[in-house]
Symmetry: C2
């Protein structure tokens, strides 16, 4: 595998855009990424598109990438849709990385797009549940809010973690999101507001949960040679790891073993350790998840997640800012777009272009996506490490 660079990124605002179609959202993000890379559509040689619910909610199961690319004048090239639940966008990035790294292609498009405001609440809930094990778990009622509520309860029992510590994640990420013009929610929230919001799955109230929304993001990956010719500030993909869960039920530890393994692989590939990460975008689908990720990524010891958020270490200005973009909780979580929105945020941070939410002097950034859940572990966990 040869070295692969990110030359351009793009992203629509995240939010509820009922009048805009998947193809329009996707095309907007693609144009952004092309402009950012200083590239013409004709220079793109291969593309991967990540999406979860296009078939279930918009009736467009296949060909989404081709349809989006046609909107911006790209046709004829190999285009493949990839799907790994909430990791769909990050897997599109990873496949583009392999395609360029293999030497087969010099310039690849990774696109992520999702439109969740297309169906009724029941339809959207069913579409999201289809990222779990439908036959064995979701059909019996074990859907995502329930899974994460049980996780929060278990952490309380094992680690003595409090729901207030979980709430601190939502407060921090909303504070960050308020600084991000592309975030779905740009309002700060308080402990009291979180506690008073409607109960979703005890102990998680609404503001512990990421919102439903629409959006798209994209990245252009290329070989080092193309990056040099481009004359743009390129960011190096230092590591890409993808794991699936081991589905073990005999563990005392309350977190995600699939993330621990992905992190170990990614740190080894990049030749860095968790202490060298300047910022991270992680999969805070529910507040409690981010506390697990702190531990699984090695930012603190097992069981210390609650204390780490209280210390302020993961807020902007802290030792390792996590989710400076606002994360899934505030920036939003249009499923297929999330992995590439994380990449976009880290690229902007490493280039020093993140404006009001800039992490000073950031040189190494990490993204972490976690897709689906079966028997207590993620179906697909993706970690990327980017370096300037």
């Amino acid at each position: 595998m040869r070295e692969v660079m990110v030359l351009g990124v793009g992203m629509t605002p995240f939010g509820k855009f009922r009048a805009r179609s998947l193809r329009e959202l996707g095309a907007d993000a693609c144009w952004d990424a092309l402009a950012d890379a200083g590239m013409k559509p004709s220079e793109v040689q291969v593309a991967y598109c990540g999406n979860l619910a296009g078939g279930l909610l918009s009736g467009q199961e296949a060909g989404l990438g081709q349809i989006i690319l046609r909107e911006i004048g790209i046709a004829g090239i190999p285009v493949t849709k990839v799907e790994n639940a909430c990791s769909s966008g990050s897997v599109a990035f990873r496949e583009a990385w392999i395609a360029v790294g293999s030497g087969l292609y010099d310039v690849a498009f990774a696109i992520g797009v999702e439109k969740l405001t297309e169906g009724t609440t029941a339809e959207v809930t069913t579409a999201l549940a289809s990222a779990g094990d439908m036959e064995m778990e979701a059909a019996l009622g074990l859907v995502f809010p329930g899974i994460y509520a049980m996780l929060a309860r278990r952490r309380m029992a094992v680690y003595g973690e409090s729901i207030e510590q979980c709430a601190r994640v939502a407060i921090k990420n909303h504070r960050h999101g308020a600084l991000n013009p592309r975030a779905q929610y740009r309002n700060e929230i308080t402990l009291e507001e979180i506690a008073a919001s409607p109960m979703i799955s005890d102990p998680l109230t609404l503001l512990h949960c990421c919102p439903i929304g629409d959006g798209a993001a994209a990245a252009i990956l290329c070989s080092a040679d193309v990056a040099r010719r481009g004359g743009r500030p390129a960011i190096r993909v230092a590591a890409s790891a993808l794991t699936s869960g081991l589905f073990r039920e005999d563990r005392e530890y309350v977190g995600f073993e699939s993330t621990q393994r992905a992190a170990a692989q990614a740190y080894e590939q990049a030749g860095v350790g968790p202490e060298e990460i300047d910022l991270a975008e992680v999969h805070d689908c529910f507040s409690v998840a981010e506390l697990c990720h702190y531990e699984d990524l090695g930012f603190c010891a097992p069981g210390e997640g609650g204390r780490l958020i209280e210390s302020g270490a993961t807020a902007l200005g802290g030792r390792v800012p996590v989710n400076p973009s606002g994360g899934l909780l505030a920036k939003g979580h249009p499923v297929g777009a999330t992995g590439l929105a994380q990449i976009a945020e880290v690229v902007w941070q490493l280039r020093g272009e993140a404006q009001g939410r800039q992490v000073d002097g950031a040189r190494v950034g990490l993204t972490h996506c976690q897709g689906g859940n079966v028997q207590g572990d993620a179906l697909a966990t993706t970690i990327h490490i980017l370096q300037r």
Copy 2:
């Protein structure tokens, strides 16, 4: 890209298996492929799973590969679902080829699975239509039988092709399918039966159309080093090409330009021409499609497809047997499984294991899948050339 070999293939019978789930069908094909390769589950390092309608018909959109692999004791490894309409299985094969060719992994699983007997006829029709452009075409009634009926009419007008010449494809492929124990239909059919079968979309009657069915297929790809250690007869992947349509409407030619481009790329990669292909498995979703593919793959000149089928050159015993397995028309077309079932057939043929339908002395085989359709060309056309 380093050389990649196919070490094992597996396939369920194709048919209507209402009582069997996606995970059961997939697991059966995977066990077959492992046994064929003489490999243990623990040796597989990465997997790709192709599927179209799991989300729409079975409610299982994400994680299908992980869920199938867990059934056979494989967990923890990177698994990604890929989807490119009717090319989904062949794209799973292609991504596995890139993953091994890149040097990242030594052993990859490519899995294709589909269950189309899960929904009502309307639900299945909608799911299949989701492989076209739903917003701009399918929602207006332009679904696949209509698209191919118009193609047949246009070929009649431009080339003077007859519906009887199209019917000869169905007759040949049913004759081949009758020799294949895994085929969905194992009965021979006559011109009169085809003409008398119910009209689907004029001029295409039911027996011009491939059937609805369930099934799975899988292949194990590996590096040349692993193949040598295995001591099994390995087949070399000499070429892999994927194109998307150019959506041109100004052509006189009546066929698929995306196939012509994919074929040119594949022949160049493999260093062979169409005259060196000993057998081909092509995407005969409708009878008329196979006549187009003869021309687009270079087996005859443009407009000569009708005469080529009449000559017997593409039947078993002819110059270049096409669809010795029975093709989509007789073997069946569980969408996501088709591309890998084609690979399995070619591997068996090149190893001399195709029994009653063996192409004598076959050394070079080609597979061709065509997924989706937008504005008169395929969304995704995949061609693989395998060599013993």
